[in-house]
């Protein structure tokens, strides 16, 4: 019995150490955001210092911060909503109907899921110039919807399959049209899947940096691109950078705490049942 207790204690110690390793860099980022520029250049082990709000004040009251925040929010929220809407419709269509071309579409979608963003950065820059979408929020939203749809469809497809077909058939016998069945029966039952898909899509649209850097200008910049401007040829403004980086990290971290189960179901989808 004592052996088991000792083993349990060892496990907790190990888990706590791992947690510290995982959270450590995030804590360093947050701590640094409360340091003055001079304090950021002192040695790495200085955890005790008089915190300052100076960085947050500078970042938040900067004249462009409001615009960048609004850009990021519009891009993140609109891209997530469109992806969810189109994604759950497509997942339902693929899971519940058989038609010519179904297989081709399903497999192409699966293959598109892993396209490296570096591969499409160049052609997208060219095509968006052609379509007059560069430097517009619409262009960024369209791109994020397109690159997030494959994962969303793939994830929700699994959730739609778990909806008992009998429920849908019973509704159809009662005279329900496919749209009504989709809205009244399927959608409510795949809500956990929708939550997971929403978090993963928002995470990409809100965090993405490279394509946003290539496709935006002064007025359409998103927050990650704005943060990268604190890195200059003469040095890095660590305090302000970490303040803005902490603000950017906040929403995805909050969603993770609120819906950890959905995040894990999204991560393990496809490989592990349950």
């Amino acid at each position: 019995m004592n052996d088991q207790r000792a083993l349990l204690a060892v496990r907790y110690v190990a888990l706590t150490l791992l947690a510290i390793l995982c959270v450590g860099p995030i804590l360093v980022m947050t701590l640094t955001s409360f340091k003055t520029q001079a304090q950021t250049f002192t040695t790495g082990l200085s955890f005790f210092f008089a915190p300052t709000m100076e960085n947050y004040r500078d970042v938040i009251f900067d004249s462009s911060f409001g615009r960048y925040l609004v850009n990021s929010l519009i891009v993140g929220i609109v891209a997530t909503l469109i992806t969810l809407l189109l994604g759950c419709m497509a997942a339902y269509g693929l899971a519940r109907f058989s038609f010519a071309g179904r297989k081709t579409i399903a497999y192409t979608t699966l293959m598109l899921r892993t396209v490296p963003l570096a591969v499409i950065a160049v052609p997208v820059f060219m095509i968006w110039s052609d379509w007059r979408l560069t430097n517009s929020l619409l262009g960024l939203i369209l791109l994020y919807v397109a690159v997030n749809l494959p994962f969303t469809i793939w994830l929700l497809y699994g959730f739609v399959l778990q909806v008992p077909v009998e429920l849908e058939e019973a509704a159809a016998i009662d005279g329900c049209r496919p749209w009504k069945i989709f809205l009244r029966i399927v959608l409510p039952l795949i809500r956990p899947g929708l939550a997971a898909a929403a978090i993963f899509t928002f995470r990409i649209a809100w965090n993405e940096f490279i394509l946003a850097l290539v496709l935006t200008d002064r007025s359409t910049r998103t927050l990650p691109v704005a943060a990268s401007l604190f890195v200059t040829d003469i040095g890095v403004e660590w305090g302000k950078l970490m303040a803005l980086a902490s603000l950017i990290a906040l929403p995805p971290l909050a969603f993770t705490f609120l819906a950890a189960r959905q995040v894990i179901s999204g991560l393990t989808a496809g490989a592990v049942k349950g």
Partner: protein, 298 residues
């Protein structure tokens, strides 16, 4: 019956068409363009109509360019080292810590946080941690009497730095996958093996791991795909330097296109990266096809 299935097909298309159109226009079309661009000589900012057909020239230039081969080698090394370290650590930790421990859900939540943080925060925070003068890593090493190192100024150490940051961010993914896989293992089989006198090591290597071999394989391929796609964190942590010691393929493509302005060459390298990733993806689909369950009853 025919009219029924025809209206069925029409309903299906109404459901999937919007998504298909957007993916075709803003994802598939760019991918196809990336391949096509490889055959043209075109500089950014000039009208596409002025682009000249150049055949295989870009591919010949790229495949005889030592910088491309160095970048490919860096990518292979990065994928091999980081993914095997993540697999080893993730599996070992999952085996040691699985089981019904109170508070496990809370720890799991903490473990997935690194994956949710923006690359801009991850890349630059690690740059700060690895700083030669005021970085936390040198400070911790100093406690153990190790002299300060110029992490990001040395080719080998910079490569170690991108590996370490990747291990930090993605080992939890392997851990979560393995834990989830182990949770689904039939306990009666384990019980039977235990009654037969199997010790922990035998039980683990002969029973548990083989039973989750499928999960391990798909996790490995998913990690490999991501390792080949890696771009943002390295862009922000080292920007490929010093020299080109950490310039992975994605970053090499980006620099060739947006700094070197050589779009044809960038596209030719893109084709190479695309082929590697698509082969891995096809492999992943062979192992775990999300469409397979429904295919049977159709």
């Amino acid at each position: 019956m025919t009219t029924d299935s025809r209206s069925n097909a029409r309903t299906a298309w109404i459901f999937i068409l919007p998504a298909v159109l957007i993916m075709a226009a803003a994802c598939l079309y760019p991918v196809v363009s990336a391949v096509r661009l490889g055959f043209y000589d075109w500089s950014m900012g000039t009208p596409w109509a002025q682009a000249k057909w150049s055949g295989w020239t870009s591919f010949e230039i790229v495949f005889t360019d030592p910088a491309m081969w160095r970048s490919l080698l860096t990518t292979l090394k990065f994928a091999a080292v980081s993914v095997s370290a993540e697999m080893f650590l993730g599996i070992a930790l999952a085996l040691a810590l699985e089981g019904n421990i109170r508070g496990m859900a809370f720890f799991r939540t903490l473990f997935i946080l690194p994956m949710m943080v923006a690359p801009i925060a991850v890349g630059l925070t690690w740059r700060y941690l690895f700083d030669a003068q005021f970085g936390l890593i040198n400070a911790v090493l100093a406690v153990f009497g190790v002299a300060a190192k110029g992490w990001l100024a040395d080719e080998t150490l910079a490569f170690a730095a991108i590996i370490i940051s990747d291990i930090w961010q993605w080992t939890p993914f392997v851990f979560i996958m393995v834990i989830a896989g182990l949770a689904n293992v039939d306990t009666s089989v384990l019980e039977a093996a235990r009654i037969d006198g199997a010790r922990w090591w035998t039980l683990t290597t002969r029973v548990k791991l083989p039973m989750i071999a499928h999960v391990l394989a798909i996790t490995l391929v998913m990690r490999l795909i991501d390792a080949f796609r890696v771009l943002e964190v390295i862009y922000l942590l080292t920007f490929g330097g010093p020299g080109d010691s950490t310039e992975v393929l994605s970053l090499h493509i980006y620099k060739t296109a947006f700094i070197g302005q050589k779009l044809g060459a960038a596209s030719a390298i893109s084709v190479l990266l695309l082929v590697v990733v698509m082969v891995l993806t096809w492999l992943a689909l062979r192992m775990s096809n999300p469409l397979a369950d429904s295919e049977k009853d159709k």
